[in-house]
Every structure is written in structure tokens, then in C-alpha cells.
Symmetry: C2
Subunit: 157 residues, 2 copies
DNA sequence: CATAGTTGCTTGAACGAGCAACTGCCTACT
DNA sequence: AGTAGGCAGTTGCTCGTTCAAGCAACTATG
């Protein structure tokens, strides 16, 4: 980064420029829109939904805080605070980790699972309407690969 | 949203699912990465860069707060605070709007313009490395159209 | 076995966003 | 003219981030 080579400095072509401008929609408006849809619909914010969803898919419906934080693209401290909110709602409980007593597991409760089942149609509908619908006709697998790469450098440096 | 029709509720295909999971990278890690690159490189956060850039392209290098906020995909209140930060750095100044005394114009100063010129290579490099590079081989214009649509519903409702 | 260093998580502070409530100016209608 | 309502912008509170500090438990070394 501190040595932006000549090659990297080529100005954007019009198509690239248009894409970069459009990127703002995906980075900024899309997450807010999905979150707002879910809050309006079922009162479960996207962050909390994502946490519950990841837990529901984990073996034993439990995960270490670290793991869960990175699965949710959240910082560890953000995860701690999210789990506290979910715990006070009874949707999650915390248990000391068996094999490493420093660690904690967040465990999905039955109430949490029920809440998730109640919310997923809302999430699914939001994702379809706000996101997938706009990518009909694309090679989704190729697109997924590109999305997964975004935010990384991945090349020789 | 409150009436998720049967059609919207079809579960995701594996490709769709993969794409939705990958979306997290674009929504959460990409903006942080670009911002971090720019902060490390030239000490100008992405939000402030975007504001200066939009101002520099506007006639008279000035814009109403409203306009600027939506160009930057920022809420109006977020814009207010961003402009305050930029103002204390002397990169922008505020002037009452001639034709409507409710309004304010944010005006790019010469110092602001200089700061922008100093920063754009860093921004360009970050955007190429972290984003565009991963979309080689795509139809960029088509992609831009899809990105622009994301976050909206755009259909009959 | 003791002690030093490391790791997992929590907590606090400072900061950047968002939304919602508020202020102040404009406009339009009676 | 006067008043009702709407739009522009700012401010208060919540949530998330980073960074730093702290504690408890693990590991490795003497």
C-alpha cells in the first residue's frame, strides 16, 4: 500500500468507475435495508439473527465466542455484547468450555431456536428481494467466488 | 415485507446460499479493509475521502448537505458530523445557502483539494487491489447495474 | 512444582454511524 | 396575514469498532 506501483495507478475506465460507484449500494445501503426490513417485520436485528443462525448450524448448537465472532464478521468485543443482549432475552446461554476453562460456549436455547424459526422467512424474503433478485442471469458460483475474494489482496505481495 | 408471499419463501439453492454467505465479505470486510488501507497510507478515512471527492466534482466545489449525504451513502446526521470533522481540519468550510436560508453548502477549500490530490492514488490502489481485481472477467457494466439495484425492491409493490 | 509468558474472554473509553426527536425556516392555503 | 404542514439540518441515544487493560486459566521452562 505504501508503494502503489505504476500499474496500480492506472485511472479507472468508465466501466470500472461505474462499478466502484455502484459498490456503495452493496456496502452501505444493502445491509441497512435488510436490517430495517427484519426489524420492521419480526423485531430481530440482522446481527442477532446472524448469531442465532450460526449457532443453530453448529454441532450441539454451541460455539466458542471467537469462532462465532468471525462467522458473524463481528469483533470479539462486539460479539460479547451481542451475546449479552441475546442472553437477557433468553435466546442464548453461556457455558464454560469443557476442554479449556478459559473459554466460553454460546449455546442456543430452545427459545432461541424458536425465535430463529419465526424469523427466517423474514430474512429469506429480505435477501431475495433486496439482493438475489438483482443478480438473476449471473453465474452465481463465479460471483460467490469473487465476493469471497473481495476485501483481501490474495496476490503476490 | 409483512406479507412474504409463497414465492419469496422458496429456500435458497446451494449457489444462492453460497452467494449470500459470500456477501458478508463485501458488506463487512471490504469497507473496513479499504478504510484501513487508506488510513494506514495517507491518514484520510474513506468517509472523509468520499466527501471531499464528491465536493471536488460539484460545480463551484460546493454541495448542499442533503445532496452530499446521499452521494456519500451517509445519513444526513452522519454527514453533519463528517463535515464538522473536515471543517476543523480546514479541508471544508460551510456557507449559508443563498436561495434557502435553511440550507448550508459544504465548500471544498484549497487545502481540502490538495489533501484530496494527495490521497487519491492511495484510494485508487486500494480499490483495485481489494475490489476490482477480483472481478476480472465479469461484464462490469452489467455488474454495476446489479449493484446499483441492490438494497432496493424495484419491483411491483 | 514454581514461575513466566500466552491466550480467551470481558470491560471501559473514545469514536464513527444510524435513527428519532427537535428547531427553525419556507410554502401554501384559507 | 396567519397558521399548518413540510423540509433542512442538528442533537441525543444506541450499537458497533478499535484499543488497552485486566483476569483467569493454560503451557512451557527452570
Amino acid at each position: 500500500m505504501s508503494d502503489p506501483s505504476a500499474e496500480a495507478l492506472q485511472p479507472l475506465t468508465p466501466d470500472e468507475e461505474a462499478l466502484v460507484r455502484a459498490l456503495g449500494h452493496v456496502m452501505y445501503v444493502l445491509p441497512r435495508t435488510i436490517d430495517a426490513d427484519m426489524v420492521n417485520d419480526r423485531q430481530l436485528p440482522l446481527t442477532e439473527y446472524t448469531a442465532l443462525m450460526n449457532l443453530s448450524e453448529a454441532p450441539g448448537r454451541r460455539m466458542r465466542m471467537n469462532e462465532l465472532a468471525s462467522a458473524c464478521h463481528l469483533s470479539l468485543s462486539g460479539m460479547t455484547r451481542t451475546i449479552i443482549r441475546l442472553e437477557t432475552q433468553g435466546l442464548v446461554k453461556r457455558e464454560r468450555c469443557e476442554e479449556d476453562a478459559r473459554g466460553w460456549n454460546a449455546v442456543l436455547t430452545d427459545a432461541g431456536f424458536a425465535r430463529l424459526e419465526e424469523s427466517w422467512p423474514s430474512h429469506l424474503a429480505a435477501v431475495r428481494r433486496r439482493f438475489l433478485q438483482h443478480f438473476e442471469g449471473f453465474d452465481l458460483a463465479q460471483l460467490a467466488r469473487a465476493f469471497r475474494g473481495a476485501g483481501t489482496a490474495e496476490t503476490t505481495d
